[in-house]
Each structure stands twice: as C-alpha cells, then as structure tokens.
C-alpha cells in the first residue's frame, strides 16, 4: 500500500471529492495562491481555478457565514479556518446558525458544509495558536466533529465529511501533517461514528484522540515490555461517538485511560468518562484516569510546551497507577 503524509491524504480527499461533485468549493485564507499554510491545498487552484478554490480576506466570520449561505444555496463548501484558535471568531456562524438550522426549521433546511481547521499544539506556536477545544462542540447538538489521527483516516473521513448533509467540524492536528502512513489506492470512505481499535490487550483500555493516538500506541508498546497489555482505541469522531466499542473494551479490561490534547476540565476525557460511568460503572476495577493538558494556556517555551503536553510517558504512568 502506498505511503502518504497526512497533508497529502487530505489533499487527495479534497481533489477526489471536487472531481466527483461539482458543487464542492473550497474557501479560506491562503488556500489558493499560497496553497495553504500547510500546503494541504497544493495544486488545487491550478487544477480547479479560482471559482472553486476561493481565497478570502482575513474574515473568519464571513468565511464561515458564506459557507453556511453557500450550503443553503445548494453548494457543498469546504471552508478552512487556518488555526482552531480563530474558530472563536466565527463560532456564532457554526454554533448558533449552522448547527441549529435543520432543527429550527423543523427539518426543512440542510447546511452541508465542512469547516476544516487544525490545532498546532506541539509546534511552538504559543498560547493563541495552539488551542484545542473540541469539547465545545459537545455542547452544540447539530454538528458532527471529526478528529483524524492517521493519513488513512484523514482521507477517508474527509471524504465522508464532504458527503454529509450536516455541518461538520473537521479538526486536524498540525504536528501530524508530515506524518506518513499507508493509504489505499482507489476509492474508500471511513464512516463517521466508528472507533478504530488500533491494538488489543487485556489489562487496560486507552482511548486516545487525534495526536495522542501516536503517544498511546508508543505507551502501549512500552507497557507490553512490562507485561501490561492494552486496548488502544481511536474514536476518530467524537460526534457521533461510538461508545459501544469503548464499553466493550472496558468490560474486558476493567480499566480506562482517556488521552487527549485538550485541557482536562470539561474536555473529551470528561465526557467519555461520564458516559462510561453511567453505562458501565460496575465493570470498572479502578478509577478512570485522564491524560490531558493542564488547565492553563499553552506556554511558548519549547521545553515547557513539551512538559505541558500529554505524551507516552504520562500514559504509561497512568497505566502503572491503575495496575500498580
């Protein structure tokens, strides 16, 4: 199977869906002439022209709003917000308009668009260019939320996202753009709401999201040397969330760690932990532990940023604490 980078896999998804469906248009800052800050849209302006690859002014509210409107008008826009931090500028359009349109209209309106964005934790971008707050979207029913961790999933999930009839927030990880992985030749999509069980074991379940999937796999390999085997599960989409696969694993292992780059308070880990406790409290042999970022802004200093981030060592320590 050919190896592609995460960024190249995303570009293949965009290109294939643009060829497949003439209603797909891209819009965002620096996506055309500059080909994307992370070169995800390289070559697309040349291939599809400025009508379908639309550079915008620095106007996040207008980018998101125009994507909503274009979707209402019959297009399938893929809007890019350069950094997840900038999503707050256009959150009104996503959370208060797009997410509620189908419901508020009694099911009449459809707003099929994808909002692509990325978080740059781990890239020494400081407090205002590293934020990762996916759990905000748990509080906004009506959105689907995708967090791919591999090139394979990046491509397959983006294609699925573009074919959705609902608004989708597609959150990429900046540190993963250059990572490589196998991507099959030819057509495939990854359906939303299906966990990927990356590794199987018996002693502990590690649910990991986006960048921390790599850390969880590294941790699981090291734990094996100590005789501890782990299920490593990547939910891939948090809305919808495939809780069934997680519950099945927890029933087997009795122990759960949730790793995620967002801050611990009110994060992905909080929500998954709550649901597991509600559904399967009696299968737990130990407390649920979260390996997340601490409740503070992201520090700039490269040394401090590394100390701040969830990593394999922190996951290992959590597992040791549970198994002891």
């Amino acid at each position: 199977m050919p190896e592609l980078t995460y960024a190249d896999a995303l570009r293949e998804a965009l290109r294939e869906e643009m060829l497949r469906d003439p209603r797909v248009v891209l819009m965002g800052e620096e996506i055309g002439v500059f080909e994307g800050v992370y070169k995800v849209t390289r070559g697309l302006l040349k291939e599809f022209g400025p009508e379908r690859v639309r550079d915008t002014p620095i106007s996040e509210a207008a980018i998101a709003g125009a994507a909503v409107g274009a979707a209402l008008g019959g297009l399938k826009p893929v809007a890019e917000i350069m950094y997840m931090d900038f999503v707050t500028i256009c959150l009104d359009q996503i959370a208060t308009n797009a997410a509620k349109m189908h419901f508020m209209s009694g099911g009449k309106l459809k707003v099929p668009f994808v909002l692509r964005t990325q978080y740059s934790l781990g890239r020494v971008h400081g407090a205002q260019h590293s934020q990762f707050f996916p759990s905000i979207f748990f509080q906004v029913p009506g959105l689907k939320v995708i967090l791919p961790s591999t090139p394979h999933d990046a491509k397959g999930l983006l294609k699925a996202a573009i074919r959705e009839d609902n608004p989708v927030v597609f959150i990429e990880s900046g540190v993963l753009y250059r990572t490589k992985g196998p991507v099959p030749d030819g057509e495939y999509v990854v359906p939303l709401g299906q966990c990927d069980v990356k590794k199987t074991g018996n002693d502990v379940t590690i649910v990991a999201v986006s960048r921390t999937v790599i850390e969880a796999l590294a941790a699981a390999t090291k734990l094996e040397e100590q005789g501890i085997t782990a299920d490593v599960i990547d939910p891939r989409t948090i809305q919808p969330l495939d809780l069934t696969t997680i519950l099945e694993s927890v029933k087997k292992t009795g122990r759960l760690i949730i790793a995620s780059d967002d801050v611990k308070c009110g994060g992905i880990g909080s929500e998954i932990a709550a649901r597991v406790v509600e559904e399967a409290f009696d299968t737990l042999d130990a407390p649920i532990l979260r390996v997340a970022s601490p409740d503070m802004p992201v520090p700039f200093s490269p040394t401090l940023e590394q100390a701040y981030m969830p990593n394999a060592q922190k996951i290992i320590e959590a597992a040791q604490r549970l198994i002891g």
Binding site: D92, H102, M104, G106
Partner: protein, 313 residues
Amino acid sequence: MLRKMIEIRRFEERVERLFLQEGALIGPSHLYLGEEAVAAGAIGALNDDDLTTSTYRGHGHAIAKGAPMKPLMAELFGKSTGTCKGLGGSMHIAIYPEKGSMYATAIVGSGIPIATGVGLALQKEGKRRVAMTFFGDGASNTGAFHEGINLASVWKVPVIFVCENNMYAMSTRADYAVAAESVAARAQAYKMRGMVADGNDPVSVYLAAKEAIGLARNGQGPTLLECMTYKLHGHGVYDRGDYRPKEEVEAWLKRDPIKGLEANLLKANLATQGDFDRIEKEVAAEVEGAVTFAKASPVLPFDELAEYVYVRQ
C-alpha cells in the same frame, strides 16, 4: 404591493392583540408594524425564484415573499403546522424555503455573511437569480456586516443588502451608534453601490430595489440599499418605545406607509375606497382563519424532537 402591506399590518396587529390582550402568545416577538413598505417594495421587485434571508423581525418578510398566514400564525403558537413545526418561533418564522425565504437569524448581523454565501451559490449556478437580505441599522455596527459586505464586494455576488433603518436599535439611536453619514455611505468603503430609499414609500423602495436587482442580475455585483423607516411601536411586542420623542413619533405616524400609498392611488385614480374595503375584508378573514387554524393545530410530540437535530444520511 398594497395588498401585501395590508396583510402584514393586519397580521401584526392581530399578533399584538394575541400577546397583549388575549395572553395567547408568549416569548419574544418583534413586529414589522410601520415598516411594511420596505418588505413589500423590495421583495415586490424580486422574481419568485429569487432568494431572501430575514431576521428576528421577519413576519413581514415572510408574508411579502409569499408564505401563507396559516403556517406563520401556527409557528407563533409553537404548533407542528407552523413554518418551522413550532421549533423556530417568531424569530425564525421567515424560514420558508418553499417560497425562497431561506433563513431568519436571531443574531443581529449574522445573516449578512450568510447572504453573501447564498449569493455565491446563485452566482455559480448562473441562472441570473439574486439574493436579498434584510437587517437593521444596529446590524450595520457588527463585525459580521463589515466582513460580509466586504466579501460580497470582493466576489461581486448578486446580493441586495437591504438595511431597514428604523432609527433605533432597541433604544439606541442610529445617529448616536452609527459613526457614518448614513448606513448606505458605508458601502463606499467597500467599493459597493450605496442607495437610499424612503422606507415608508413602497414605490421609492421598489424602484431602488429594481435598479439594484437589475445590476446584480447582470453581473454588476451587490448593492447596499438603506430604507429609512420607523417602527409604529417599540423594539419587541412588549416595548412601547417610550424612549422616543413624542414629536418624532407623531411626525412619523403622519407618514403611515399604507395610508400614504392609498392616498396616492386614489389621487392617481388607480384604485377606489371600495377596492381598499374589499382588500381589508379579505385580509381580515385570512388573519382570523389563520388564528383558528393555529389554535386547533397540535404540538409536535416531544419524542420526535431528536429526529430534527441531524439530517439522516
């Protein structure tokens, strides 16, 4: 146009009574009383297949675009037969895609970039359709307004941005809060046409809108059309607008858009008092029919709500 204006006026008067006297309706509701000439004139200049977007003051836009009174009234009652099956309410009543009324937002200014996007879709479609969006003077102070009309101008999309300048954003006067000669003057900053119409004169609005629509259809981009008008009462149905100077209110009441149009029609021998009486009678029956229909309609079962959160793939 007169018919539409009377429909809006009598519908809104009935809604006001349902709120204030009969206690049959609750929740926020922002009436279009006094502004009828804007919706009737501007939407009257559109083709049926053109698209509009509206706001929380949207009853008038919906009626002007052709939404029937029965589902509109039912929406106010929160009934399953409403324009949004009772899930939207007064502030989203103008979501009626069946007649090209595509959206109504309750967040001031947020519909403006959405209209730019609708315009983009129509531009790409290439069938010379246009989009028209409504908002107030207050919305012209939001970031979404400035970002939305800038992008519309950059992309030269076929959108008519209709500002209903009723001089007040709640109690805040436009001559205090809008730091510009006019809302229309703001268009110049974005290389966009700015036009001003008398929002209490449907003919003035119609002619200005017709010109802007024609230009948009011919690929000559968007227009910001400011219509000067005035609310009969206050911001919402419970607000009497007491903060407005009495003399100002009286002066505008003398410029009632419906009475003004009727006088002009009589003067030009284009209609008779009998015509007006006939319209009034028909509209009154339609409004009452809508109230009866709304009251008799069922509420959506709560168990079904989850079906409306996501489109099923």
